[in-house]
């Protein structure tokens, strides 16, 4: 198990009271929130898809490729969110997160594992002292269709169980019905329940359906105190895409320019290969900036991509392509 102890960082979110006036005013009420969100610049879908496709043709220097793979591995939130999850499954996942490739012990550990709230205690026990975080979904994941009471209770279970991070879902129905204040208030309430746990806010971009909505939901989540804005639950398609993550990276970059504060992005769902992952890293580097090339500020929500990263890492080190039999399934 390799880990370089991370320097302590203050990752807490600035309270609304300290935000610049134009942002604090935006959240005064429903009307001002709507006005703010609709005052944001639009996103041209053709233009952004072309830019994302153009960035995807960048190639990384061979000597940097290994570092890129390692960075990507260190950014993975290794995930299992199945009805059939058992303590055994979660334990295997935790072991894999701590040491993804036993034949190469220097390999970085994953950033976190992500499980359902009732699996949190198992994960916490298994990962104790490893530096791998425990993230839990919450708030009636994945649909988000329940009362606020249920969502808060769901969150509390995870927090009390010892989760370091909470991956909540926003109320997409409320968002699409234009009830932005309601979406906002829910996030604020969940954030409070999180205590010291970092909050990832899942936008479920596939249901938001337009880039303009992705931009608005991203800003809304940041205003409400999100530590991470996250693309998807991974349960529907489309999940993360380069252009969508592009919009979110631009948002956190703008947020930092306006508040001095750096928030994070998580791309989840549909990222299957190391090549995909590296394309996302290129986007992070070029759209947001090198300060985001850090597991505290960018994550991959995925399961299968880790094995491809491991295989590509082996290929870099061994000088030949690897095969599926050389990496563990679980």
């Amino acid at each position: 198990m390799s880990s370089v102890p991370r320097q302590a960082r203050d990752l807490s979110v600035v309270p609304t009271a300290d935000l610049p006036t134009h942002l604090a005013d935006a959240t005064a009420n429903d009307v001002s929130l709507r006005r703010f969100l609709f005052g944001l610049p639009g996103v041209d879908p053709v233009g952004i898809e072309q830019r994302a496709a153009g960035l995807a043709t960048r190639s990384i220097k061979r000597t940097s490729k290994l570092a890129a793979i390692d960075l990507a591995i260190s950014m993975v939130d290794l995930t299992t969110l199945e009805g059939a999850d058992t303590p055994g499954k979660v334990r295997n996942l935790a072991r894999k997160a701590m040491l993804p490739d036993p034949d190469y012990p220097e390999i970085p550990r994953a950033a976190a594992i992500c499980v359902y709230p009732d699996m949190v205690p198992t994960a916490v026990t298994e990962l104790k002292g490893s530096g791998v975080k425990v993230a839990s979904v919450a708030t009636a994941f994945p649909s988000g269709r329940s009362s606020l009471e249920v969502k808060l209770a769901d969150t509390k279970i995870a927090v009390d169980g010892g989760a370091d991070e909470i991956d909540m879902v926003i109320d997409r129905g409320a968002f699409l019905a234009g009830l932005y204040g309601s979406v906002f208030d829910q996030i604020v309430a969940i954030k409070k329940t999180c205590g010291s746990a970092r909050l990832k806010v899942i936008l479920e971009t596939g249901e938001l359906a337009t880039y303009d909505n992705v931009r608005r939901a991203s800003w809304l989540a940041l205003l409400a105190g999100a530590d991470f804005i996250k693309t998807s639950t991974g349960k529907i398609s489309p999940a993360a895409t380069l252009p969508v993550v592009h919009v979110m990276l631009q948002t956190v970059k703008d947020w930092k320019a306006q508040t001095g504060e750096q928030r994070a992005v998580k791309a989840a769902g549909g990222i299957r290969t190391a090549k995909d992952a590296i394309r996302y890293l290129v986007a992070v580097h070029e759209v947001a900036g090198p300060e985001w090339l850090d597991p505290d500020y960018f994550r991959f929500g995925a399961s299968s991509v880790l094995n491809d990263l491991i295989m590509q890492r082996r290929a870099q080190l061994d000088g030949h392509y690897s095969g599926a039999d050389y990496v563990t399934v679980d």
């Binding site: 043709t57 190639s59 000597t63 570092a67």
Partner: protein, 483 residues
């Protein structure tokens, strides 16, 4: 982590650059009787190859070959047959596309990313599109049986050597003409590879003839009595001269000349994409594009914020070896062009505009220039009126849509304009009001053989691409000297 992009150099071996290239006349590569010329790789400032050039006698031979081919072979051939030759050429370009892309990058200095993803595929598409017209000319609205003009003399520039060759050759041949074409003296190679493709396609000898050389060769060609039609793409100054020289000869001309395109950003624009559009508009092909968005007209209410975003984005552009797949901005085509650009930049500074340049490192050898912006420019400055033809943007503000139209149209040029707004009615209204041959809404530098391209006013007359582009190569009942 140490974040470094490769050099991810494309291997230049595939280009198989010869030591010497020859003109292509009457179906064969033969020594010309003019002086040899060297061609340089602008990315390294080193010699790339040598080209044999033509003299007047060679031009006579070429025109004669084109005439013979026209009279005896090409004009007898059915449109369908002509079309099939053009389809073969399109396929040939696609097959040798990687080689062509590398040759083009080495000879011109533009990034391999651009030649690979734009220049070469577009050239193939241009032949493919026009191949299909060859047997359908009766549907152009020019009468039941429009006739070709005969022999076309064509002169093309150095900024898109292969693509300009395609834009000239394909419609001329589709319409039933034969051609004698002269590439620019700094970029003669890719068209000579195209000549190999043309020969491999078994195109009858003399249908396409390529004469190499400098301005004097071009002048002799366009003034040659054996030419029925002249097509020229290049500077407005030379275009004027050609039009003057051809006065009274009855020879048909089309001219595609310079521009000073306005890229107009409204306060409701999708800003991040507008930034991309500006970048593309002025740094694509190092700004060496007739339709470049070389004037930025940004609405005053967002000007400061927008300019800041623009500068930040420009800082991420990679200027470097054109053969590097990660290079965004390549080399300027020649030392002479680099000098012209820097001279105009000096004028801009002297006139009081503020110059900002990217801090990107530049390679030591080769002809390179940092992407630059002039702010605080006014419409009366030279940098706002004259075509710089380099990676230099001149920025001005406007207050209202009417003012934007007025400023954009206030130019002797009229080739292109860009409009950035999320408001559909305004996009349509601006497109109608702007006096330019190509209007790009929420995008820039889009080209397609089906979409006509050409200028208003001193940006030239006549169109290339689409049905109106074909009309320039056909004879109808009334003779039109231009267009």
């Amino acid at each position: 982590m140490e974040w470094e992009y490769s050099p991810a150099p494309e291997s230049s071996a595939i280009a198989d650059i010869k030591d010497r290239y020859l003109p292509f006349i009457d179906g064969t590569f033969k020594e010309g009787n003019g002086e040899d010329r060297e061609t340089i790789n602008p990315g390294t400032a080193k010699r790339l190859s040598t080209v044999s050039t033509v003299n007047e006698a060679d031009i006579d031979r070429a025109v004669n070959a084109a005439r013979q081919a026209y009279e005896n072979v090409w004009s007898d051939m059915s449109g369908a047959e002509r079309g099939k030759f053009l389809f073969r050429i399109a396929r040939g370009i696609a097959e040798r596309s990687r080689e062509l892309a590398v040759v083009e990058t080495l000879d011109n200095g533009k990034p391999i990313k651009e030649t690979r993803d734009f220049d070469v595929p577009a050239a193939a598409q241009h032949f493919f599109y026009h191949a299909g017209w060859a047997d359908k000319l009766q549907h152009l609205g020019l009468g039941p049986a429009p006739r070709p003009l005969g022999v076309a003399g064509q002169v093309i520039p150095w900024n898109f050597p292969l693509l300009m060759a395609a834009w000239k050759i394909a419609p001329a041949l589709a319409a039933g003409n034969t051609v004698v074409i002269k590439p620019a003296e700094t970029t003669p190679l890719s068209i000579l590879v195209l000549a190999e493709i043309i020969a491999d396609a078994d195109l009858p000898p003399g249908v396409v003839n390529i004469v190499t050389g400098a301005g004097d060769v071009g002048s002799t060609l366009v003034n040659h009595r054996g030419i029925d039609k002249v097509a020229f793409t290049g500077s407005t100054a030379v275009g004027r001269r050609i039009q003057r020289e051809l006065a009274g000869t009855g020879r048909k001309i089309t001219l595609e000349l310079g521009g000073k395109g306005a890229n107009i950003i409204f306060d409701d624009a999708a800003q991040d994409q507008a930034v991309e559009g500006i970048i593309n508009g002025i740094f694509f092909n190092q700004g060496q594009v007739c339709c470049a968005g070389s004037r930025l007209l940004v609405q005053e209410s967002i000007a400061e914020e927008f300019t800041e975003r623009l500068k930040q984005r420009i800082e991420t552009l990679r200027v470097g070896d054109p053969m590097d797949k990660n290079t965004d901005v390549g080399a300027i085509n020649s030392e002479a062009q680099l000098d012209r650009i820097t001279a105009l930049m000096k004028a801009g500074i002297a006139e009081g505009a503020e110059l900002w340049s990217s801090s990107c490192p530049l390679p030591k050898n080769g002809f390179y220039l940092s992407p630059s912006i002039f702010t605080n420019a006014t419409p009366s400055m030279r940098i706002a009126r004259e075509e710089i033809f380099g990676p230099v943007l001149t920025t001005m503000t406007f207050r209202t849509p009417d003012e934007a139209v007025s400023k954009a149209n206030n130019s002797p040029y009229g080739l292109s304009a860009g409009v950035w707004t999320e408001k559909g009615s305004r996009a349509m209204g601006m497109a109608a009001a702007l006096r330019a041959g190509v209007i790009w809404d929420n995008t820039f530098n889009r080209f397609d053989p089906a979409a006509s391209f050409g200028g208003y006013k001193e940006s030239g007359f006549g169109r290339e691409g689409g049905p109106s582009g074909l009309a320039a190569y056909l004879d109808t009942d009334d003779e039109v000297v231009t267009q």
